[in-house]
């Protein structure tokens, strides 16, 4: 086994005060000026840490408040109250809801797995990845000394051409089977949201290099990253003119929307030792494209979903798309020779695990990288109004730390999912739908008979 993969997070505090769900509003009118104000007794020292005079303190305390309600319930004149931040509620866009954004910010700051008490607080199930649960094992352990022990769980995956056998003939002809192992089943891709400045790109590039993963970008962006990072890049081709004169990227990505057959042939000729990926947008007929691509010799497929993680021409979710590709390749008997990458709608660590369960080898993370830099998805940048988080002014070091922290938290969360299932290698998770529980199936199995009301029966009102 390769040596244990560790990501070392370094605290990267927010540059702006983050929005939180609710804050405190304290009125001054009617204040009794108690000698010991309840605010001074805050268990979390919220008021003290802000260095506010408790008597004069009238403004709202944003993200520091931990919602214990002690001051609200103790003020003798009932002058302290909670109130929601409308800005928080309106923030985001599915699947990056305000809660998901807040969670990403927290992970990007500390690099730690989000932990909370008092059980689960969200909806029973939901669309997309929220209609799946993952399995656990009562007695099978993945390792002898815990998921963070000396025996470890591998999250490494292989990208590239994986022939089921080698032939002497091919070897003597110098045919290569390019293959790259990355220690994390996550690759970076530039988000479609937000302007991307050179500082940001430098930061992401450095993070990708530190993590040992790849970053996919267009030729126009290549000059912005440090030369050392070039070997961790995948270049997205816009046209055949692009093919010449880049430095030395690790891979090339061709879109199936272009004349990919020609592009692939010329790319393969010029760069026989590089990974060549075909990016296929999820829409009607995508499976046929992939089948043809296989016949053509392409061994890396990138299925691309929309920002929301759905098909471009229907409401189907990316998980259905991945499943279809996986099963078609299985039917063709070639699944193990092909690497399937997926992008779009990956907002949380659990989405990575679930995409892999559906049949992907690895996923691209894009918008989440932007959100890690305090993006609120307000899309003011698209209207060329200033960015409230002023992301472009952030230093490359801070950008890199925030991205590394997010990946550190995601890596540990993947370990939690794998550990619970008793699996020691993420490659074994691929396509394991038997270790997932699907909402539709369970609903049908459990509640199918509970749909009739007979004469003389009535439903209890809630």
């Amino acid at each position: 086994m390769p040596s244990k993969y560790l990501i070392h997070p370094v605290d990267a505090p927010n540059r702006n005060a983050p929005l939180s769900k609710s804050g405190i509003i304290a009125r001054e009118e009617g204040c009794l000026k108690c000698p010991v104000c309840v605010k001074t007794k805050c268990v979390y020292n919220v008021y003290k840490d802000r260095k506010l005079d408790p008597i004069k303190m009238v403004d709202s305390l944003d993200y520091n408040c931990k919602n214990c309600f002690r001051c609200i319930q103790s003020c003798p004149k009932q002058l302290i109250h909670k109130s929601f931040h409308q800005e928080f509620e309106q923030m985001g866009q599915y699947p990056f809801t305000s809660e998901v954004i807040a969670q990403i910010w927290q992970q990007a700051t500390t690099g730690k797995v989000p932990v909370s008490g008092a059980g689960y607080h969200g909806p029973f199930s939901g669309p997309g990845f929220d209609s799946m649960w993952t399995d656990m094992s009562e007695i099978v352990r993945p390792t002898r000394d815990g998921i963070h022990g000396r025996e470890y769980i591998s999250t490494a995956v292989d990208l590239g051409d994986k022939p089921d056998h080698l032939s002497f003939h091919e070897i003597s002809q110098g045919k290569d089977h390019p293959l790259v192992t990355i220690p994390l089943p996550i690759l970076f891709r530039l988000p479609a949201v937000g302007g991307i400045g050179s500082n940001t790109l430098k930061g992401w590039g450095a993070a990708a290099r530190y993590l040992g993963t790849l970053i996919s970008l267009s030729k126009a962006h290549l000059w912005m990253v440090s030369p050392k990072v070039v070997q961790n890049t995948i270049i997205e081709l816009d046209s055949s003119h692009d093919l010449m004169n880049f430095q030395d990227p690790l891979g090339i990505e061709i879109s199936s929307e272009l004349n990919w057959e020609d592009l692939y042939s010329s790319a393969k000729e010029i760069y026989p030792h590089k990974l060549i990926i075909l990016r296929v947008p999820l829409k009607n007929g995508f499976v046929e494209v992939i089948k043809r691509a296989y016949e053509y010799g392409i061994r890396l497929i990138h299925v691309q979903a929309s920002f929301e993680g759905s098909f471009f021409d229907s409401g189907l979710h990316i998980k259905d798309g991945i499943r279809k590709v996986h099963l078609s390749l299985l039917d063709m008997g070639v699944r193990d020779q092909v690497t399937v990458l997926a992008s779009g709608g990956i907002a949380l660590a659990e989405h990575v695990a679930k995409a892999i369960i559906c049949g992907a080898d690895a996923v691209f993370v894009d918008t989440a990288l932007q959100v890690a830099l305090e993006c609120r998805l307000c899309r003011r940048c698209e209207l060329e109004i200033g960015c409230p988080a002023d992301i472009q002014s952030a230093s490359p070091l801070w950008v890199a730390r925030r991205s590394i922290n997010l990946m550190s938290a995601w890596h540990n969360q993947l370990l939690e999912i794998l550990g619970a299932m008793g699996i020691r290698d993420i490659r074994r998770l691929r396509g394991e739908t038997g270790r997932a529980m699907l909402f539709e199936e369970l609903e049908r199995e459990t509640f199918r008979g509970l749909n009739k009301i007979r004469e003389g029966e009535e439903i209890e009102l809630s």
Binding site: Q103, S116, F124, W133, V140, I417
Partner: protein
């Protein structure tokens, strides 16, 4: 029959001077202190004190369900009622503000809410929250005449003829494991005392057996979990009921973790560990890799205390039915299924949301399987993990459980606001899940005990009401009666 009918609730108000009520009142300067509002309100919300009118018990207001609302009676139009903004800031989709405040109402009064609060379901848009009881209009009358104490809520825990204690819990609830260390000693003793008063049991959790709970030995479930913290032969001999914790719903397949901050001198002594260092309870039992190994475990316990009743607490994987049957064949009396949406202590969010199945799916699956195997009447199924209300309990029993295990609702009765910061700093700001001496002092054992007893007294009233409407005399009749339920999302579906 049921001892709970004999318990008179004692009014036990909030510890804080400002209770959070759903409705809040504003009096303008036009108020002439005529006292009309106090006069019309039969819930005692308003009171005349020293020639002024004050709102003293806003938490008793039934809001929209009030037959003659005070604010409409006010001759000067000076009284306004509104939804309290602090109330709306409480809770979440599973524990809505309504559920939290109605649980507080029950813990204060021992009565189900009289109106204005949704105390039956939350807003999670699935599972319990979309299941409803359906009642036959005719049947109710036949049992309507029954007195409350004639309806039986007791659940036998030992259905094997193996010479072990024939334990029965008088109400279909027992207290889930919350260890000394994760919760304060006052919280722990309150729960144990309440269990004794109610004629049921409460688990120690994995953190040892503090001397303070010794008076309640007969009502203690001693937990043997993977870290074996505080497990001694002596504590196993002391009790009549023990549980093996294989996994827990909130972090299935992952171990427990008590942060260093919470490991105080006394916690460390109890757990035979060093103060200030975090304690990991590993996953899984490092001596159990098969049903045979599990049998060996049960035999070990039985060699220490031959008559002890054994529960096995497991989570809800894909093959939860196999786990249950395995537990049965290894000699367990009780299989305790802990669904994925519950838990009280700190756990990774990813685990709580994604790993293992919700209890609403697991219980019917296990029930069906054990019936088909012909052993259902020899083992007791206890369900937990996201059971918040008496209605949730009744629903899961109708889906196939015999009884339920409660954790979070007990804490809400002690005025937990579900801020979810159990793990941070000095621990719970409300004095529940903490080992900080000052914060622990926020709860007195008497107050805590009575709040928990009150809540269960109210729950039993609700359960008896449901049973009456179904024409049943015993909670045992409800087990597995799925036909009493409809699922609102499936009403439109035509299954072949």
């Amino acid at each position: 029959m049921s001892s709970v009918s004999g318990i008179t609730p004692v009014i036990t108000p909030s510890r804080f001077r400002n209770p959070i009520s759903k409705y809040t009142f504003y009096r303008s300067k036009d108020c002439i202190a005529c006292g009309r509002c106090a006069q019309v309100c039969k819930y005692g919300v308003h009171k005349i004190q020293r020639k002024t009118v004050r709102t003293v018990l806003p938490q008793y207001c039934v809001g929209k369900d009030c037959p003659n609302p005070c604010h409409k009676e006010c001759p000067k139009g000076a009284l306004h009622i509104e939804i309290n903004p602090d109330f709306t800031a409480l809770g979440d989709l599973r524990w809505t503000p309504d559920l939290i405040v109605s649980t507080w109402f029950m813990a204060e009064t021992g009565e189900p809410p009289k109106g204005g609060l949704e105390y039956k379901v939350g807003d999670s848009k699935g599972g319990f929250d979309r299941l409803r009881f359906k009642f036959k209009s005719g049947i109710q009358r036949a049992v309507e005449e029954l007195r409350e104490d004639e309806i039986d809520l007791s659940v036998p825990l030992n259905r094997r003829d193996d010479g072990s204690f024939k334990l029965v819990m008088e109400i279909p609830f027992y207290g889930g494991g919350m260890s000394y260390g994760s919760v304060s000693i006052n919280t722990m003793v309150s729960r144990m005392r309440a269990a004794k008063i109610l004629g049921t049991f409460c688990s120690t959790g994995e953190g040892g057996y503090p001397e303070e709970i010794k008076p309640y030995d007969d009502h203690v479930i001693t937990q043997v979990a993977t870290g074996l913290f505080g497990v001694r032969e002596e504590t196993i001999k002391r009790v009549r009921f023990m549980e093996f914790k294989y996994a827990q719903g909130a972090k299935p397949g992952l171990g427990g973790h008590l942060l260093g901050d919470k490991v105080t001198e006394s916690v460390a002594r109890m757990r035979e560990a060093v103060p200030g260092f975090p304690l990991f309870s590993p996953f899984p039992f490092h001596s159990v890799y098969s049903v045979e190994d599990h049998k060996k475990h049960v035999d070990w316990i039985k060699s220490i205390n031959p008559k002890i009743v054994v529960a096995v607490k497991v989570s809800t994987p894909v093959d939860v039915d196999m786990v249950a049957i395995g537990s049965y064949y290894a000699g367990a009396h009780v299989v305790h299924l802990d669904g994925s949406y519950g838990g009280t202590g700190a756990a990774p969010d990813i685990a709580k949301k994604n790993i293992a199945m919700p209890i609403e799916y697991a219980v019917p699956k296990v029930h069906r399987y054990l019936v088909n195997e012909g052993v259902r009447d020899r083992i007791t199924i206890i369900a937990s993990g996201g059971i918040r209300t008496a209605h949730d309990a009744a629903k899961i029993i109708a889906l196939g459980a015999d009884g339920v295990c409660i954790g979070t609702a007990d804490l809400v009765a002690l005025e937990c606001v579900r801020c979810r910061n159990c793990e941070s700093g000095r621990g719970c700001a409300r004095g529940i899940a903490t080992t900080d001496p000052e914060l622990t002092g926020l709860i007195s054992v008497d107050w805590g005990t009575q709040r928990i007893v009150n809540m269960y007294v109210a729950w039993c009233k609700i359960l008896k009401d449901i049973l009456k409407k179904l024409g049943m005399k015993s909670i045992k009749e409800l087990v597995g009666q799925k036909d009493c339920l409809v699922h609102l999302d499936h009403m439109e579906t035509n299954y072949k």
